[in-house]
């Protein structure tokens, strides 16, 4: 396979799965022109006047949608690791003898290990989405027929809007829906919160199938997915395991080292002056992130500071801040626990958002760049602040990108990470896979100290004399090399690209190689 060196100095293929690619040109450099992709014209004359689009089963819906070999089928990760719909969908596709599907999920979870047999037998040709856990390992061993394509949530919207990916059939698992196809995730036995990730699919796919285990009488109001975009509705017994769809309660980490990292992040926001009246931040649901939100909350109360908005992944902890008036709004991208789901349903200031509002490269602006500070994780960061979030230092692909790349555009991007995990260094000479260019990454917070990107002279100045353990990234690296030893590079087959990393604009940022 012929590889081209892109503007970030990484080698990427010119063609992926027979589609011509554009190598990464630099941040904000690639701006396609022309018109966005057009959805297929449909006429209401073809749909029942009584609004009842319920078909007898999923197979019937797929048949009516004209399922054929080589089609692109999309699913969404609202049900997280509790999802049984996707696995069931491919059981049905297999039973129909269909081959070479391009699976286009918004993310995959370990529960989708079930699909490995369909990758083996050719039912699925390749995945464009995320390859988590077992699917990632499978991909890393070079077993997938096509090349995996990893995109951010914003990049997924971009790829639909500029025509790079055309979805033939979107299957939207919906915790509550009516027979017309109006659907929502905020209620029902399998409630997951919101369905924002399926928005683009519902608008652009040729055929949209809503699958629900809670069919209600029209109108399912308020709705998140509009029935007017939906072709068929299928009722099944259960969308999945509610305990794995949202956790009853999200747990704050008990690890003393992660708590220390969280404390440093909160102290950094406070002492750098970012934490002030009317500010905004984003925090996810990882253990460190939850703890960070709690420490920040303590500091906000102490200094009587109120945020304008917090961007979720919402959890009980953010919901409490909303209730206590510490923030005016939660702009929520996904809901991680039952308190989050309830709040979204009941509190008008808990707003549901989508990749369109928050991340889309072809939007006329997006929320991610308006956030004062975002706290993220990473699997690796290198001396130039470049970061990796998909592969580990042994070369294995184990995670998707999610909204991570999109969030890098915030005014202050903080990676809160341990400096090493079980002898595996997190701070390295050069990242195994480039997912986030260093120029967008401002601060690295580890248990061994805080490294600020030398480009951010303003931040360096702001925390001078603060008592925070500010060090250079090289100093932290030296410290962990003394502890762990200098690692050997992973043994990768540089002739065999198993997956590619897209930048938010659709260009190719890096390649993932087969592990030997």
């Amino acid at each position: 396979m012929k590889l081209i060196k892109n503007a970030a100095g990484r080698l990427v293929p010119g063609i992926v799965n027979n589609q011509k690619q554009i190598p990464f040109k630099g941040i904000g450099k690639h701006k396609p022109t022309g018109r966005k992709a057009k959805p297929m014209i449909k006429s209401c004359a073809d749909f029942p006047e009584d609004g009842n689009k319920v078909v007898k089963n999923l197979k019937d819906a797929l048949k009516k949608s004209g399922l054929k070999d080589g089609m692109t089928i999309s699913t969404h990760h609202h049900l997280r690791n509790g999802d049984v719909v996707t696995n069931y969908l491919f059981d049905v596709i297999k039973s129909m003898g269909i081959k070479n599907i391009r699976w286009y999920p918004t993310a995959s979870f370990p529960c989708h290990e079930h699909l490995i047999k369909y990758l083996d037998d050719g039912t699925i040709h390749h995945i464009e989405g995320s390859m988590n856990g077992p699917l990632g390992r499978y991909t890393s061993h070079g077993k997938m027929k096509g090349i995996g394509v990893l995109r951010s949530h914003g990049g997924r919207y971009q790829s639909i809007q500029d025509g790079e990916v055309h979805i033939d059939i979107a299957v939207i698992a919906s915790p509550t829906a009516d027979q017309f196809g109006n659907a929502t995730g905020d209620r029902g036995p399998s409630a997951c919160g919101l369905l924002g990730f399926a928005l683009a699919d519902s608008e652009y796919a040729d055929n949209v199938i809503v699958v629900t285990d809670n069919l209600v009488e029209f109108p399912c109001y308020p709705w998140q997915i509009q029935g007017n975009n939906v072709d068929h509705v299928v009722k099944i017994d259960s969308l999945g395991d509610p305990a794995k769809i949202v956790s009853g309660t999200t747990q704050v980490t008990k690890s003393p080292d992660r708590l220390l990292i969280a404390e440093y992040v909160a102290q950094f926001l406070d002492e750098s002056g970012i934490m002030k009246n009317g500010f905004s931040f984003q925090a996810g649901a990882g253990g460190t992130n939850l703890a960070f939100a709690l420490y920040l909350k303590e500091r906000m109360i102490k200094k009587n500071v109120k945020a304008k908005f917090i961007r979720g992944g919402s959890t009980k902890y953010l919901v409490e801040m909303l209730k206590e008036g510490l923030t005016e709004y939660i702009l929520d991208g996904q809901t991680f626990d039952l308190d989050g789901v309830r709040s979204m349903r009941e509190n008008p200031n808990h707003v549901n958002t989508s990749p369109f509002t928050s991340y889309n490269y072809h939007g006329k602006g997006n929320f991610a760049s308006m956030v004062d500070a975002v706290v993220l994780g990473a699997t690796e960061v290198d001396l130039n602040f470049n970061a990796n979030v998909v592969t580990h230092s042994d070369g294995y692909l184990l995670h998707g990108i999610g909204g991570w790349q999109n969030c890098l555009f915030s005014k202050c991007t903080i990676l809160a990470i341990p400096s090493f995990r079980d002898r595996i260094p997190v701070i390295v000479d050069e990242v195994t896979t480039l997912v986030g260019p260093g120029e967008l990454i401002d601060v690295i917070v580890t248990e061994r100290g805080i490294a600020i990107n030398p480009k951010r002279k303003d931040l360096l100045k702001a925390v001078k004399g603060s008592g925070l353990p500010v060090k250079s990234i090289n100093e932290i690296k030296k410290e962990i090399d003394d502890i762990c030893g200098v690692p050997a590079k992973p043994k990768l087959n540089k002739d065999k690209v198993v997956a590619v990393i897209k930048w938010v604009d659709g260009t190719l940022l890096d390649s993932v190689f087969q592990v030997e």
Binding site: P256, I424, G485, A488
Partner: protein, 407 residues
């Protein structure tokens, strides 16, 4: 050779094991060294691990063996300790040591008077807690060979603790080891004395004689290994007899730096339940404080065992401080900050201490012998206490080190 065991093992394995390894050793009479390594970090560190094991085999003159390693991200000092334990277990009379180079970062000294507000206990056979322990900034870390180590692992903990003292950076925390109850504890000393230990905690101490025994053995080891650095003792009083003899114990050696109390064993010894209120141990604690102060050393309180209750911990430190204790044991890193904050002087105490120190320094500069603030005379002990408070305040970031200029 008698007592020769051909198969031995050391370390830990299982799904939940992190930063440790399991090593199985089968000695053979021919065939050279055969090493089978399974490691989650083999692509990064496989060859470094192999080099280490082969070097140890050469050093131990081990020529023919099958070695199986299941590694869960163990650091080199852990792998070396586990392999040495396996070799020792295969040959009870084995007496070689494989010493990794002592890290330059570990060569700092301690002093008898240094602050000992917090000391963090680290189980002597649990290496995963070591590399980051110092980051939580305890005044001291304790590598524990006593209660936290299962009886069957006492031998491997000695080796692991020895390696940790040489290799692990504890970030300037005072380096302490709790040995086993005597006489077993005397055997522990040879694994720690030559490796820059600062303080030895002597558990369940009941007589001055026990201190003398430890001091003698340390003296012997120090001259054998040509060790110059001071090694201080912190006897722990954990019985009625120990409380009664506490002054003798506290004054038994010039190397005693502090006297600590252990209440779990003490309350069991006097046959009562340990309560939060602590009435049952008030007399013992006061006795220990007075014995320590009479001998001119620090008094250190027991641990607070509910790691989730930070308010309870705070209250317990305030009470300890009120009684006269200067330090508290910690069993979780999150307790350290709470302990330091609670031991920190209040702003009224700091203001008063600043005034006293300033007045004293002014008088000294002018050559005046007698110092007074207002109508109150200030004598030496008052100045000493004030200086201590100022230092505590500086160490807790409650007072700038340049406070004299800023005043």
């Amino acid at each position: 050779m008698k007592n020769k065991i051909t198969k031995s093992f050391a370390g830990k394995r299982g799904d939940k094991i992190k930063s440790d390894c399991y090593i199985e050793l089968k000695k053979k009479s021919a065939g050279g060294i055969k090493l089978k390594l399974e490691s989650k970090v083999s692509s990064m560190y496989g060859s470094q691990i192999e080099d280490l094991i082969f070097d140890m085999c050469r050093s131990f003159r081990l020529r023919h063996a099958e070695i199986i390693i299941n590694d869960f991200g163990a650091l080199p000092f852990v792998i070396a300790a586990r392999f040495e334990s396996a070799v020792r277990r295969s040959e009870p009379e084995f007496n070689c040591e494989y010493l990794l180079e002592i890290s330059k970062k570990n060569k700092y000294k301690s002093s008898k008077e240094r602050m000992r507000r917090s000391r963090l206990y680290l189980p002597g056979n649990e290496p995963k807690f070591y590399p980051n322990a110092g980051l939580h900034q305890p005044d001291g870390i304790i590598l524990d060979l006593e209660d936290s180590v299962a009886h069957s692992e006492k031998d491997s903990a000695q080796i692991l603790v020895r390696n940790a003292l040489r290799s692990v950076d504890f970030y300037k925390a005072e380096r302490m080891v709790r040995i086993n109850q005597l006489p077993k504890g005397l055997d522990d000393l040879k694994f720690i004395v030559p490796h820059n230990v600062h303080v030895i905690l002597i558990p369940k101490c009941e007589s001055a004689e026990q201190i003398n025994l430890v001091e003698e053995e340390i003296g012997r080891l120090k001259s054998k290994h040509k060790i110059k650095n001071d090694i201080f003792f912190m006897p722990i009083i954990e019985s009625a007899l120990g409380v009664i003899n506490s002054f003798d114990i506290a004054s038994a050696s010039n190397m005693n730096c502090a006297l600590a109390v252990g209440l779990e064993d003490y309350t069991a010894d006097i046959g009562v339940q340990r309560t939060d209120e602590g009435k049952e141990s008030l007399w013992a604690r006061s006795m220990i404080i007075n014995s320590a102060k009479a001998a001119g050393i620090q008094a250190i309180d027991t641990v607070y065992s509910d790691v989730t209750n930070m308010e309870g911990l705070h209250e317990s430190v305030i009470e300890a401080k009120m009684l006269g204790f200067e330090g508290k044991g910690c069993i979780h890193p999150r307790q350290i900050k709470v302990v330091h904050e609670a031991f920190a002087p209040t702003s009224e105490e700091i203001d008063k201490a600043k005034k006293i120190v300033m007045a004293f320094e002014e008088a000294e500069a002018k050559g005046i012998g007698v110092v007074s603030i207002g109508s109150k005379m200030i004598d030496a002990p008052v100045v000493k206490r004030a200086r201590k408070i100022v230092k505590l305040a500086e160490n807790n970031n409650l007072l700038s080190k340049n406070w004299r200029e800023e005043n």
